[in-house]
Amino acid sequence: MGIWMQWGLLDLCTTVSQSLGAYHDLVLVIIGSILIGVGLFLCMFLLHKRLYKGMLNRSVKSNEKLEVVWTLSPAIFLSILGFESLVNLYSMEVGDGVVNSVEAHGHQWYWDYNYVYSMGGLIEWFKGNNWDAVMDLVFPGPTSMGDLDSASFSCADLWVASQLVGDWAVSMESYGIEESSLGFDSLKSNNFRKMDVTSFCILWQGMINEVKVSTSDVMHSWGVPALGVKVDAIPGRVNVVGISPLTSGFYFGNCYELCGPGHSSMPIFVGVFNRLNSEFLLQESVINSCDWDNLVSNCDEVVIIEKATESKNEFFNYNESVAESESKL
C-alpha cells in the first residue's frame, strides 16, 4: 500500500526487491544526469547570443571523434546498467528450498488461494517443546492481533488437530470488500477502501515461499509491490514466483492485467507471519471448516472434551492414551 503523496518506491520487504530498489536508484542517477545534461546543452544553444555572444562555430557539419564519444559513452553506461539488471533478473529465480507453496487463482473478479497443509507438523513441534516456552515465543508481549488470542489457541484445537493428521487442501476465496460493506465502523477497524479483502494469502516470513499463479477465465496478474512481485495469470499456464519476505506484516497488491469491468476491484492482501503463526492459521482454517458433528460422534464426546480442557500438561499424555484406546477398538 502506498502512502499519501508518495514520490518513490514503496518500502520493499524482500532481499530481491531491495536490490531492485537499489538498481532503480542507480538508473535514476544516470538518467537524471543525462536529462540535466541535455537540458543544459539546450539552454546553452538557445541562449547562444547571450552566453557566447554568438561566437560558437556555425559551420560544424560533422565530427567523427565526437560521434565516437557519444556512441561509446552511452554504451558504457548501458553495459553497467545491463549487467546490474541481469544480476537482479537471475536472482529472482525461485530456486530450491521452497517451504510454503501457495496457488493463487485469478477469477473475474476475485482471487482464491489454495494450500496443501500437512496437519500434524505443528503437533509434533509442540510435543517436542515446553508448552510455556511455546506461549512465550508466540505471544512475547501483549497481543495486538485480535484474532489470534489465547482463547483460540486452546487445547481443544490441538486435540482436534491431532484427529485430523494428514494432508489437507485448503482453499480461500478472497473478494474485495465493496465500499457499501465498509460500514460506520470502518474508521475504527482500519478498513481500506478498495484494498480490503475477505481472506488473505498466507506466506511464511524469512523462508522461501512459492506462489503459483493461474486462472481459468481471462488473463489477470498477481502483483504485490512491497514484495516486489508481479506475475501474470494466464489460462492454461502456471507461472511461479518466489518470495522470501524479510519481515512479517500485511502487504497489499492489485490485479495488474485488464480483466473486465471489475479489474479495479480485485485486491490482494498478503499476510506474512513467522512459521508458527502461518501454520497455526492454516490449521485453524482446516479446523474451522471441518465437520464437527461427524468428528465428535466418532469419539466419546463428553469425557474427551472435559478432559481436554484440564491442565495443559495432561494433554500430551492424554493424546497417547486416546490413541491407545482407539487402537483397541
Binding site: 500500500m1 502506498g2 499519501w4 503523496m5 518513490g8 518506491l9 514503496l10 531492485l20 532503480h24 538508473v27 535514476l28 538518467i31 536529462l35 541535455v38 537540458g39 546543452f41 539546450l42 544553444f45 547562444h48 562555430n57 556555425r58 557539419k61 560533422s62 565530427n63 560521434e67 557519444w70 556512441t71 548501458l78 546498467l81 539488471s85 541481469l86 537482479n88 533478473l89 537471475y90 529472482m92 465500499e179 477502501r193 478498495k194 477465465d217 481471462v218 488473463m219 496478474s221 502483483g223 509491490p225 508481479k230 501474470d232 494466464i234 489460462p235 492454461g236 492489485n254 495488474y256 492485467e257 485488464l258 480483466c259 473486465g260 469491468p261 479489474h263 479495479s264 476491484s265 485486491p267
Partner: protein, 523 residues
C-alpha cells in the same frame, strides 16, 4: 452538376498527393479531437476516488477507444498520410507518388475503419479490452457480443490502409528518385518515412494475422488462443507485440524526420549535424525495433534467458536514439535560433522525448520492470514519448509547413501561447504519473485506492489545461483561415527542396511543375 462532378473527381477520386494529404490532415485532426475527448473523459473519471461517471465496462471501452483513435487515426494518418503525402514527392522532386490511385484508396479506407470502431461501441456492451486486445478477454469468453468483431474488422481495414500507403511510399523512395538524388542526398524526413513504411509493411500483416486468428477463435470455433483446444494465450501476446513494438517506432520515426528538418531550419542551418550517422541511426532503430518485442511481456512467464536477451537488446536500442538526440543538439549549436513557434515545439520535443526515452531505459530492465509493469509508470513513459514526442513533432511540422500548403500564416504570438499551454498541460498531466507508478498504482483501473488521490487530481487538472489548449488550437486554425495573412517569402535556405515553388508562390499549386526537373551531376 458539372461542379458537383468536378468536386467528386477532385475530392473523392483524387490522385493528387497534395489533395490526399489535405484529406488525411482534415480526417486526422478530427480524430485527434475525438481522442482528446476520450482522454478527458478518462481523466474526469480518475479525478477523484470512487466510481463517478462511468461503470467498469464503459470506462474500459473509453480507454480502448482513446488508444486506438490516437494511434491509428491521429498519429499514423497525420504523419504518414498527411505530412508524408504532402512532402515526400516535393522533397524528392517527383510529380506525385508512385501509385496515385492506391494513395487515394489508402485514405478512403480510414473513414470506414473509424466508422467500424465507433460502431463497436454501440453494439452490446462495446469492446473494453485495452488496445492490446488480449484474449481470453477479447475472445468469446470475455466479450461474447459482436463489438469485438467490429474492432477486429476496423483494425483490419485500417491495417490495409497503412500497408497500401507504405507500399506506395517505399516504392516512391526506392524507384522514383532522380538519378542525381543519391540515397545520401535524400532528405531525412523522406528517409524516416521510408524506414517507417518498411516497418509497416513487415509488421502490420502480423497484426492482421493475429486479428484473423482472434476472429476465427471468436466465430468459427478455432482455438488458436484457447488452452482448452491446445492453443496458447501467450501466442497472441507474442504476435501482438511483434507488431506492437515496430508500431511504436512507426509512430515516432516520422516525428524524428520532421524534427530534423525543423531544427535545421530553425537554427538557420542548411544541414543537420552528421547526416550519415543520422541515417544509420534511423536504419538501426528500424531494424532493431523488430527484435525487442519481449520487453512488453516481462511478466507473462517467459524463460529467464529470453527475458535477459530482450532486456539487453532494448538497452542497446537506446544508443542510436541517443546519437540522434545529440546530433540535434549539435545542429542547434552555434546557429541563429529563430524565434518561431516551430522552434518552441521542436525544443520541447528534444527535451521531453529524451525524458520519455530515459524512463524507457528504466523499464527496459526485466527485473525492475516487474515492479513497474502495467503501472502508471508505463503510462507516463509512453505518454511522454507520444504526447510530448509525436504530438509536439506534429505541431512543429504543422507550424513549419502550414504556410507551404495553405499560403497562410498562423498567428505567431498566439501560437507560442498555445505552446505554453500545451507544455504546462501535458507536463502537469503526465509527470505525476511517474510517482503513481512507483507507488504501484495499476493501469486501466477506473477507481483507485485513496492514497493515489493527490497525483490523480493533479493529472486531471493538467488534462483540462490540455483540453483548453486543443480548443485554442482549433481557434488558431480558424483565425488563420479568416485573417488571410499571406506568405510572400519563405525564410528557409534554398537547400530545402519542398519550398521550391514556381515563382515563389504559396500555396503550392495543384501540379507543382509543368515538367519534371533536370538533374546535373559530376561538376
Amino acid at each position: 452538376m458539372d461542379s458537383m462532378k468536378n468536386w467528386y473527381d477532385r475530392w473523392i477520386c483524387s490522385t493528387s498527393h497534395k489533395d490526399i494529404g489535405t484529406l488525411y490532415f482534415v480526417f486526422s485532426y478530427w480524430a485527434g479531437l475525438v481522442g482528446t475527448a476520450f482522454s478527458s473523459i478518462i481523466r474526469l473519471e480518475l479525478a477523484v476516488p470512487g466510481e463517478s461517471l462511468l461503470d467498469g465496462q464503459l470506462y474500459n471501452l473509453v480507454v480502448t477507444a482513446h488508444a486506438l483513435v490516437m494511434i491509428f487515426f491521429l498519429v499514423m494518418p497525420m504523419m504518414m498520410g498527411g505530412f508524408g503525402n504532402w512532402l515526400v514527392p516535393l522533397m524528392l522532386k517527383v510529380p506525385d507518388m508512385s501509385f496515385p490511385r492506391m494513395n487515394n484508396i489508402s485514405f478512403w479506407l480510414l473513414p470506414v475503419s473509424i466508422l467500424l470502431l465507433f460502431a463497436s461501441a454501440y453494439v452490446e456492451s462495446g469492446a473494453g479490452t485495452g488496445w492490446t486486445i488480449y484474449p481470453p478477454l477479447s475472445s468469446h469468453m470475455g466479450h461474447p457480443g459482436p463489438a469485438m468483431d467490429y474492432v477486429i474488422l476496423s483494425l483490419h481495414v485500417g491495417g490495409l490502409s497503412s500497408i497500401l500507403a507504405s507500399i506506395n511510399f517505399f516504392t516512391t523512395f526506392l524507384s522514383m528518385r532522380l538519378k542525381v538524388t543519391s540515397l545520401y542526398r535524400v532528405p531525412l524526413f523522406v528517409w524516416c518515412i521510408a524506414v517507417t513504411s518498411f516497418l509497416l509493411v513487415v509488421a502490420m500483416p502480423v497484426l492482421a494475422g493475429a486479428l484473423t486468428m482472434l476472429l476465427t477463435d471468436r466465430n468459427f470455433n478455432t482455438s488458436f488462443f484457447d488452452p482448452n483446444g491446445m492453443g496458447d494465450t501467450i501466442l497472441f501476446v507474442h504476435l501482438f507485440w511483434f507488431f506492437g513494438h515496430p508500431e511504436v517506432y512507426i509512430l515516432i520515426l516520422p516525428a524524428f524526420g520532421m524534427i530534423s528538418h525543423v531544427i535545421k531550419v530553425g537554427s538557420g542551418k542548411s544541414y543537420v549535424f552528421g547526416k550519415l550517422p543520422m541515417i544509420n541511426a534511423i536504419l538501426s532503430i528500424g531494424i532493431l525495433g523488430f527484435i525487442v518485442w519481449g520487453h512488453h511481456m516481462f511478466t507473462v512467464g517467459m524463460n529467464v534467458d529470453s527475458r535477459a536477451y530482450f532486456s539487453t537488446i532494448t538497452l542497446i536500442i537506446a544508443i542510436p536514439t541517443g546519437v540522434k538526440v545529440f546530433s540535434w543538439l549539435a545542429t542547434m549549436a552555434g546557429g541563429y535560433i529563430r524565434n518561431w513557434p516551430m522552434v518552441y515545439w521542436a525544443t520541447g520535443f528534444i527535451f521531453f522525448f529524451t525524458m520519455g526515452g530515459l524512463t524507457g531505459v528504466v523499464l527496459a530492465s526485466a527485473s525492475l520492470d516487474i515492479l513497474l509493469h502495467d503501472t502508471y509508470y508505463v503510462v507516463a513513459h509512453f505518454h511522454y514519448v507520444l504526447s510530448m514526442g509525436a504530438i509536439f513533432a506534429m505541431f512543429a511540422g504543422f507550424h513549419y509547413w502550414f504556410p507551404l500548403a495553405t499560403g497562410l500564416g498562423l498567428h505567431s504570438s498566439w501560437s507560442k501561447a498555445h505552446f505554453m499551454l500545451m507544455f504546462v498541460g501535458v507536463n502537469i498531466t503526465f509527470f505525476p504519473m511517474h510517482f503513481l507508478g512507483l507507488a504501484g498504482m495499476p493501469r486501466r483501473i477506473n477507481d483507485y485506492s485513496d492514497v493515489f488521490h493527490v497525483f490523480n487530481f493533479m493529472a486531471s487538472w493538467g488534462s483540462m489545461i490540455c483540453l483548453f489548449a486543443v480548443y485554442f488550437w482549433s481557434f488558431l486554425l480558424l483565425e488563420a483561415m479568416l485573417s488571410q495573412r499571406c506568405l510572400f517569402r519563405a525564410c528557409v535556405p534554398k537547400t530545402e527542396a519542398e519550398w521550391a515553388s514556381p515563382y515563389g508562390a504559396f500555396p503550392m499549386r495543384f501540379h507543382t511543375w509543368s515538367q519534371n526537373p533536370l538533374g546535373f551531376q559530376g561538376y
